[in-house]
């Protein structure tokens, strides 16, 4: 078969993240949000500690496939230290990218390792896996947005 094709989705960066997850674990006393992927039962929890209009700490936990775990891992790198507004924009850009839409070069640079996941657009059945953590972060940002701090 064409393992070459498999390599297009599972790029080295993705495999590295999946093997060595960044910001993986639970943060005590930090608000979180859990989402599951109803087709496979995978669960991801994202936690965000926002202070002074900045994501001070971020973490994710739960189980999932290589794509959902790696995507969560790169996301934590991308969103750490961003303002909630910047984070929302980055999440939007990422979602455009994995849906197969063009995004501009600056946005791509800001997404860093996450931009590699753009290849998921070629694998429509896996878009949901790639988006899981980002959806969780997006919803959590909305929930925390009402918070005075």
């Amino acid at each position: 078969m064409s393992l070459l094709k498999l390599g297009e989705l599972y790029k080295a960066v993705i495999l590295e993240h999946a093997q060595q997850l960044h910001h993986h674990g639970q943060l005590p006393d930090v608000p979180g949000l859990t989402l599951n992927n109803p087709t496979c039962g995978d669960v991801i929890k994202v936690q965000l500690d926002i202070q002074d209009d900045q994501i001070q700490q971020i973490a994710f936990s739960g189980t999932g496939c290589t794509i959902s775990q790696a995507s969560a891992s790169v996301m934590t790198d991308v969103l750490a230290k961003q303002s909630p507004a910047q984070a929302k924009t980055l999440i939007h850009d990422f979602s455009q990218l994995v849906m197969g839409d063009e995004i501009d070069a600056t946005a791509k640079t800001q997404l860093g390792d996450a931009a590699v996941l753009g290849a998921v657009a070629e694998f429509p059945t896996r878009i949901r896996c790639a988006m899981l953590a980002w959806h969780a972060a997006d919803q959590l940002l909305d929930e925390l947005g009402g918070d005075p701090k």
């Binding site: 078969m1 064409s2 393992l3 094709k5 498999l6 496979c40 039962g41 496939c65 290589t66």
Partner: protein, 407 residues
């Protein structure tokens, strides 16, 4: 034994997927359709389309005759005692929900017990769970033995005088085991309960005799037995059906309607409100005819041979966990497995690149996944139209996927 190749009867099997020949190993989700079934649908719309049970004109009579002839075919196919005991639904899911909403609604009360098994598909679990919540009834689950069969000792303990209803799959869509329905029916009946059987994974793979099984209700879907989607069957014992109030009202199911009252049509029309899925019924008839032409002995022999190759191939591979019994004698044509350390979604994507289409996920059986202490599995399932070469393609691709993710 040399296998007969039926691939030519199934036009879709000539398709290529990702540049590779389609290797369809997900018949447990839905079977492919033979040309004979496709032709029957086309012929129906080209020559016989009219609404059933309504017109006095010739075309309507033709459509009605064909529709009712399939009821006779299904009656014989599952050896139901009377044609009135067989009615058409949308699917297994609708059939099972129907029993919960009619029999369940009328006869299950507070503290009554409903006995299920941990291997049930959500469609034979959630309707009972929701009924139990509405009625303050209790759910009891029969577990598995260490080799992945239904634990009949537990069944004997759990089915008691408190039990009102037992709901069980004849064949599991994950473990591949066929459950001892006759013995479970006897246990249910000794305790004054009824047994509802989910036949979705059974009807296309071995002869089903609802009288020999002594099933009170038996549900199945056409699409897993070569027929189109959107057509299902529910069989019920006549004395039970006669006690039930229809779940849906409308055209077709009435005898006489006035402004304030309605008398209902006789069974089975009483339970088929509105215009039914006529073409689906015609397609189901063609599927039964086709299955009977192939014949049970061929179907069972070919599927046993394919399952043996699949099961043994997986068991021989290092780093593969196979769920359900490892004994071929206990195994239907469905095998659930995992490649250790690789998520089933990643395995299925890898196999897909080789044109091998398998299912990955919880297979609508999350309580079973929890029981097996996994969140998901890969599942390969075969039907008589598969070939040994396709099993080998799966095994080769699986070895490559393993290599890719583990190196």
């Amino acid at each position: 034994m040399a296998m007969t190749n039926y691939r030519a009867d199934f036009p879709i099997l000539n398709t290529r997927i990702n540049g590779e020949p389609l290797t369809y190993l997900d018949s447990a989700a839905t079977s492919q359709k033979p040309q004979a079934v496709i032709d029957a649908l086309v012929a129906y719309y080209q020559h016989d389309n009219a609404n059933v049970h309504r017109g006095v004109y010739t075309l309507a009579a033709q459509a009605t005759d064909q529709y009712e002839a399939v009821r006779d075919q299904v009656t014989a196919f599952i050896n139901a005692p009377q044609r009135e005991t067989v009615f058409f639904t949308r699917s297994t899911t609708e059939s099972l929900n129907w029993v919960a909403q009619t029999y369940g609604e009328q006869f299950i009360g507070p503290q009554d017990e409903i006995v299920l098994t941990v291997m049930e598909h959500h469609s034979n679990l959630v309707p009972w769970q929701q009924l139990a919540i509405r009625k303050h009834a209790k759910l009891r689950y029969i577990g598995l033995t260490s080799d992945g069969q239904l634990d009949m000792d537990a069944a004997k303990r759990l089915i008691t005088a408190k039990t009102k209803l037992v709901a069980v799959a004849e064949t599991s869509n994950v473990l591949g085991v066929t459950n001892p329905i006759k013995a479970l029916a006897a246990l249910a009946h000794q305790n004054g309960a009824i047994i509802v059987v989910d036949g979705a994974q059974a009807v296309a793979h071995h002869p089903v005799d609802v009288q020999a099984l002594d099933a009170d209700f038996y549900a199945f879907s056409g699409h897993k037995m070569l027929a189109p989607t959107g057509i299902g069957v529910l069989y019920g014992k006549l004395d039970l059906l006669e006690q039930l109030t229809p779940a849906e009202f409308g055209g077709e199911m009435i005898d006489n309607v006035t402004q304030q009252t309605t008398t209902f049509a006789a069974i089975p029309q009483r339970f088929e409100a509105g215009t039914p899925n006529i073409s689906g019924v015609i397609g189901l008839g063609a599927a039964i005819t086709y299955l009977q032409q192939v014949g049970w002995s061929t179907i069972e022999a070919q599927e046993a041979q394919l399952t043996e190759r699949l099961l043994n191939g997986l068991l021989k591979m290092d780093g593969v966990t196979v769920y359900g019994p490892h004994d071929l004698a206990l195994h239907g044509p469905v095998v659930a497995f995992n490649l250790n350390g690789v998520h089933p979604h990643d395995v299925a994507t890898g196999l897909d690149m080789a044109g091998v289409e398998v299912r990955a996920g919880h297979h609508c059986a999350q309580p079973l996944m929890a029981y097996l202490q996994t969140s998901a599995t890969v599942r390969a399932s075969v039907m008589f139209y598969n070939t040994p070469a396709e099993i080998d393609r799966l095994l080769t691709a699986l070895a490559e996927v393993k290599e890719f993710f583990q190196s």
